[in-house]
């Protein structure tokens, strides 16, 4: 069908969608009038039950820990799927030089000194901040997911400063695969250990500590957050590494 017909069909469909949306929003309480029993119920008892002052992370890894296991395995599968989809590509390339891949042949200009200095200066602080965020989920706005992404960003800075070979040496694929597997499997294992102790899956069985909000408090929440942090960092590094393979092979050959 022609583009104009497509556009008309889209207009009709979107009009129906918007009508249903507005009908649904008319039934919601207004913005800011959240009445729901679930939120205030959790807020009332989170500190007495888990000794964690970071409520969002407590919800993520304790009250809704089962959903988080699922989300983490989506991440794991996406990284694994990328390796599978792009690996077949590499096998073809080695046999005949394909003219359509341009990333291997472009002229890469040398990085200016200003960028190198600034990027390398920030690698250390970024890694420390990422690690801190991943291990302090129960106290402040922090947690496994954002800590893991920021930790991966520290490695990207090495790549951005022009040190391609160093980046590849700092993140070998075998090590990243192992770290990602430990993170994902560890999360599932923490839950299974609870089952082995004849408690429900992902029950919080580690000691809860005495001071709410201290680093050693809140039992399994801290352990799970750390495992999720390293798994997310490894998954992002694997994803970027797969996309970078072509340019790195070329650089290594010419330098």
């Amino acid at each position: 069908m022609t583009p104009r017909q497509r556009l008309w069909l889209f207009a009709v469909a979107v009009a129906g969608l918007v009508a249903c949306y507005l009908w649904a929003f008319a039934g919601l309480p207004g913005f800011g009038d959240y009445p729901g029993p679930y939120g205030p119920a959790i807020l009332k008892r989170v500190i007495t039950e888990t000794n964690a002052t970071g409520v969002v992370s407590a919800v993520n890894f304790e009250y809704r820990g089962f959903d988080t296991v699922g989300e983490e395995f989506i991440l794991f599968t996406a990284a694994a799927g990328m390796s599978v989809v792009l690996r077949q590509l590499r096998g073809e390339r080695e046999r005949q030089s394909s003219p359509t891949d341009d990333a291997a042949n472009r002229q890469v200009p040398a990085t200016s000194s200003a960028i190198r200095i600034v990027s390398l200066l920030f690698v250390g602080p970024t890694a420390v901040i990422g690690w801190w965020l991943a291990t302090h989920a129960q106290t402040n706005p922090s947690g496994g997911f954002q800590g893991g992404v920021i930790l991966a960003t520290a490695f990207f800075l090495v790549y951005l400063s022009g040190e391609f070979i160093v980046f590849r040496r700092l993140s070998p694929i075998a090590l990243l695969d192992a770290v990602e597997a430990i993170g994902a499997g560890g999360f599932a294992a923490v839950g299974v250990i609870a089952v082995a102790m004849s408690l429900p899956y992902l029950y919080n069985y580690l000691p809860l500590g005495t001071i709410p909000g201290a680093v050693s408090s809140s039992g399994t929440i801290a352990a799970i957050s750390f495992l999720v942090g390293i798994e997310v960092a490894a998954a992002f590094l694997l994803i970027i590494g797969e996309l970078l393979e072509q340019t790195l092979l070329r650089r290594e050959g010419s330098s």
Binding site: P99, D102, P141, G143, F145, Q146, F156, I240, L244, T247
Partner: protein
């Protein structure tokens, strides 16, 4: 002005900016420019989440939407560029 009124004005302003940013992202057709506009949109979203009292989501959106996603997009664009 009461704190609630200030909060209201702030939220309305950032919501309008986010809506404008989304329109800009869709209207940009050149690939490299698209990546930059998406990065700015990610930062606007992070500000919106902050004004909605959600610092955790702000951290995630900043790290992902302004850094990791544009990097992944740029690498993909480099792989599919037509030879000049």
């Amino acid at each position: 002005m009461t704190p609630n009124a200030v909060m209201d004005i702030l939220q309305v302003t950032v919501l309008v900016l986010v809506a404008a940013g989304a329109t800009l992202v869709v209207r940009t057709r050149d690939r490299v420019r698209l990546v930059l506009v998406l990065s700015v949109y990610g930062m606007l979203l992070a500000i919106l989440f902050f004004v909605f009292q959600a610092p955790d989501v702000t951290l995630s959106e900043l790290a992902v939407g302004a850094i990791a996603l544009p990097l992944i997009l740029l690498l993909t664009i480099a792989k599919v560029r037509k030879p000049q």
